[in-house]
Amino acid sequence: MGKTFEEINEKIRKGTVVVATAEEIIDIVEEKGIKEAARQVDVVTTATFGPMCSSGAFLNFGHSDPPIRMCKIWLNDVPAYGGLAAVDTYIGVTELSETKGMEYGGAHVIQDLVDGKKVRLVAKSYGTDCYPRLDIDTYITLEDLNQAYLFNPRNVYQNYSAATNTSNKIMDTYMGTLLPQCGNVTYSTSGELSPLLNDPQLRTIGIGTRIFLAGTQGYIAWEGTQFVLNREMIDDDTTMYSGATLAVIGNLKEMNSRYLRAASFNRYGTTMFVGVGIPIPVLDEEMMEFLAVTNKDLYTNVVDYSVPSRSRPTLRKVSYQELRSGSIELNGKKVQTAPLSSLRRAREIANILKENIQKGEFLLQQPVHPLPKDRTFNPLKDMVVK
């Protein structure tokens, strides 16, 4: 017996829909079994709140009088892209301030805008017949902008390797501070609550899927960059899924900095914590099998970040249950583990999404197109140009 998106939306409209978070569903399945749980529960909510470097926002400033074709643009001293039409720009979260360096970047500009703060806009132009003005120095607020939308080319990694450091030097990375001689292991996932680990074959998630994005309703726009569907067997019953990513879009004006937080990693640079929640419809029992997955059966690789190579060596495979325990064994030594993404805030998002669906405020959107099955992960050919 299956359900369709439309049947589930009808229940949402009537207020009779049954929703559980991806953590709650584990106990429900344990108690009632797959078949009964699939019959009773209509939607399972998943979420994640972690640093996602491939994020940024498109902004339109409106025209000054006389008008300017902005060629070089700075927002609070952070360079923004000037290669679009006259007063359009894209600001990426990892772009650093030219005056404050790693303490302040594009992520902080975006958060300041979301928090309603004034942001200084400086732009220069070579001047054209149609856009004669050569420079402008002013302040903007989010409210003033014509359009402001977050467009993140790569978010919501299905699965990410855990990091450690076998060298004798402390390393500052986007996976946090890695202590020498495998002094710690960091990992970034919400595990059994994580969106793409709950629908690992992307049966229900695709282009057009409506999602919770940083406090508002956003959409999956495309496959994420570096998207690839990897599968590796851990044992006869356990598959390690990895590689799927999502490009997401949503209205910055409706976002909340509780779910969109600027971050700065020591000696790495700036990035942004992005809160994403994805509802997964329980179309049939097979979907419920996927949704019932627990950290015990979700694995990742522990990789050595001290090897400065594209393919860093894997030291071992580890389950998220072990990583969550606070320590794992590595080369015969007990090593402390720590998360990088906030499970606490991911749970908050999964619960908000659940409530929004129960209240009839969030309808499911069936994908208008599936995500690709045939992508490969190509390296950059490093040719010597003479």
Binding site: T177, L179, V185, T186, A263, N266, G326, Q336
Partner: protein, 137 residues
């Protein structure tokens, strides 16, 4: 009984003398080393917690001074801005004493100030700048 935290500065010629032995043996104070940078031939620094009666602590401090070791009260602590903290947990990966730890039920960041060595590694590890060091008199 009284408890105080101190930073001791050892001149190079004193780093190889059994100073702490006398502290315990002659003045009956309990001490706990929080941080140590002591190398023979170099100026050393020792952060300690001293516990004893008021009188013994005063006598131990007088002995320390007479011994040629400068000291000052350890007047720093780590403060968290809970409004800024996102409970990511990355600071726990560098905390050497386990003062910062995750509640594995709620996944909220907890801080046990008693265990904190004020090594300040968490300050540089925190991506949202929710941890700071506070100086007091």
């Amino acid at each position: 009984m009284k408890k105080i935290k101190l930073i001791l500065y050892f001149p190079p010629e004193k780093t190889d003398k059994p100073f702490t032995y006398h502290l315990v043996k002659d003045y009956d104070v309990i001490f706990n080393i929080l941080q140590a940078e002591v190398q023979p031939g170099k100026r050393g620094r020792l952060t300690i917690e001293l516990e004893g009666t008021e009188e013994n602590i005063q006598r131990a401090l007088a002995f320390t001074r007479d011994y040629g070791i400068e000291y000052r009260p350890f007047n720093k602590n780590i403060v968290r801005n809970q409004g800024e903290c996102v409970d990511c947990g990355v600071c726990t990966s560098v905390c050497p004493s386990g003062a910062l730890y995750m509640d594995t039920d709620t996944w909220k960041l907890n801080f046990d100030e008693q265990k904190c060595l004020v090594c300040e590694l968490c300050i540089r590890a925190c991506p949202v700048k929710a941890i700071d060091v506070n100086m007091f008199d």
